[in-house]
Symmetry: C2
Subunit: 342 residues, 2 copies
């Protein structure tokens, strides 16, 4: 008697879950959420530029440049210092700290470099259209790597192995300019894509998310979060900020967005690894961040339990990171400009 | 007629070179120079501690800790910041810079971590007997990582994945103390051994060094360099400094060695990657460093051409680095002590 009751119930639940999952995939997609393509060719179509195609030689060289602190004035700070690939692609501190221990003058938080190829704009104020342009900024910015473009170029062209690798990557007539160096870094960054269980789910594996993760996703959509956190990046577009209410920590730093007050929506991918949150890194708790977003962006009160349920979904956005062999950087020559600390 | 003259000459040269090489191996060994054993069991006998054996789990955990900037007060500085495994195991700047951009108060240069397991003493003044003891220093030193022992411990024990990895490495009853954390880092560091062409040569491959490299080695020994640069590390022991003449840059910084004026001899392995040279990093050119050593330690004048010849041998000490997959560091929890910047 007991057994006969149980079996049909399990059967009904399984059917209902499968049916609900298909619905939920559709609902997510209808709300603009997109998967990282599982198919490599489809992914390459999204991230590659036929005019400057991604090749192994460029990626390997770009990786070396990304990890090379000699791109900074002091020789101590690399791209990876603030966009640490071991730590979700950022630095884990509220506001970036760079050359001479200078904090970001606007108290801006370093965004993750993972999946940044999917952003429609770069920097918190979206002033840069793509990674190759973006990568030129921090190298030169006095509170970051503080290296004038010419110094970066001089360092690289003085290192014979780098020159040789640029020739391998781009041909023997390559002109190693500062923008070319930034381009190469960007080519490496384009490969920093982290597919997750959520992508597997959207791509058709309806068991990739468990029931609580699906429930969290459903709440996430119902609350309206996907109205900004959408696309492949689940963010990365310019959006108005603080429309419904004033951000609790708006006094930390002086950042007010672009000239229209728009702020780049952060990606939610790997969000559990990329705290503290918000443009000024003022919120450490993901639960608090979810609730604050409900209040200031959606004008709704998100309860603690709803936030916890959404958090379970957000954890499922932790992606599989590309394997990175730590590089051996080429030796400088006698003509390499020395580090300076002023 | 022409041909008949050439053949015997080549034959004689080959014999002489082979004979000379065997002699040179003997001469190097007689002068205390030692190879990194090619045999893994023999190597492990040298670096392993049966009371705390090297295991894959400890090495992998130690690698994560080595790369983790959260072991520093600010969350920005890892062991790898000053001992960069991509750059010969050091930072490539004259004197270490740490927390709050503080320069080493004695203007001391960061020594390489590669092959440091073979040193008889650690730190420039030799005050530490081994790596596990040494590793405790920079984490706590205010101008370096500036993290009190208890803060380091609190950070680690608040990160569930670290706790789990410590249990895997040491057993479920492991007591995660600050010294245990340093021990684990040291276990990883012990594996940072870089065999080179020179080792292949000493280990019996007499063609591993070419003739100019052999000539450089011969001069190196004849000049007396191996009287301090010996053992497997080709350095790493405490020696008197500046006996024959005063070091040209002795006024840079206030370091005077240990209480007997002894200074740890730097390893010559990977020397082309570990400039600038001397305890205070005041000499950028390896040629100048060789000549200065001749003057202050051996009381001899080394000519430019002799220095260049020795440099060819020193380049052959560039070792094969162990492959390192860049780690994914575990996420902190809500109880993880936050970074501080004061």
């Amino acid at each position: 008697m007991y057994k006969s009751k149980i079996i049909p119930l399990t059967f009904v639940l399984a059917c209902s879950s499968s049916f609900a999952s298909t619905d939920l995939v559709k609902k997510a997609k209808d709300n603009g959420m997109q998967a990282i393509p599982a198919d490599k060719v489809a992914l390459m179509k999204l991230i590659d530029d036929p005019k400057d195609p991604i090749t192994d030689a460029k990626v390997e060289l770009g990786k070396k440049l990304f990890f090379d602190p000699r791109l900074s004035r002091s020789g101590l700070i690399s791209c990876n210092t603030c966009h640490n690939l071991a730590m979700g692609g950022d630095d884990g501190i509220p506001a970036a700290i760079g050359h001479k221990w200078t904090a970001n003058p606007h108290h801006l938080n370093s965004p993750t470099v993972y999946n940044s190829v999917f952003f429609s704009a770069q920097f918190w104020d979206g002033r840069s259209p793509h990674l190759a342009d973006q990568a030129q900024g921090p190298m030169q910015a006095p509170p970051e790597m503080a290296a004038p473009a010419n110094l970066v170029k001089e360092r690289i062209v003085s290192i014979p192995e780098y020159v040789s690798e640029f020739k391998t990557a781009y041909g023997s007539d390559v002109n190693i300019t500062f923008p070319k160096i930034a381009d190469t870094i960007a080519t490496f960054e384009k490969t920093l894509v982290t597919p997750s269980k959520f992508d597997d789910f959207l791509n058709g594996d309806i068991n990739a998310l468990n029931d609580t993760e699906k429930k969290g996703l459903n709440i996430f959509i119902d609350k309206g979060c996907a109205s900004c956190h959408n696309g492949i990046a689940l963010g990365g577009t310019m959006q108005p900020f603080g429309l419904a209410a004033k951000y609790k920590f708006s006094e930390v730093g002086d950042f007010k967005g672009d000239d229209k007050g728009m702020v780049k929506t952060p990606t939610l991918r790997n969000i559990t690894e990329t705290g503290p949150y918000f443009h000024n890194g003022a919120v450490w708790s993901l639960t608090d961040a979810i609730k604050e977003m409900g209040s200031i962006q959606l004008g709704i009160k998100i309860t603690d339990s709803e936030a916890e349920e959404m958090k379970i979904f957000l954890k499922a956005l932790k992606g599989r990171k590309p394997a990175i062999s730590y590089p051996q950087l080429p030796e400088e020559s006698d003509t390499t400009p020395k580090p300076t600390f002023d």
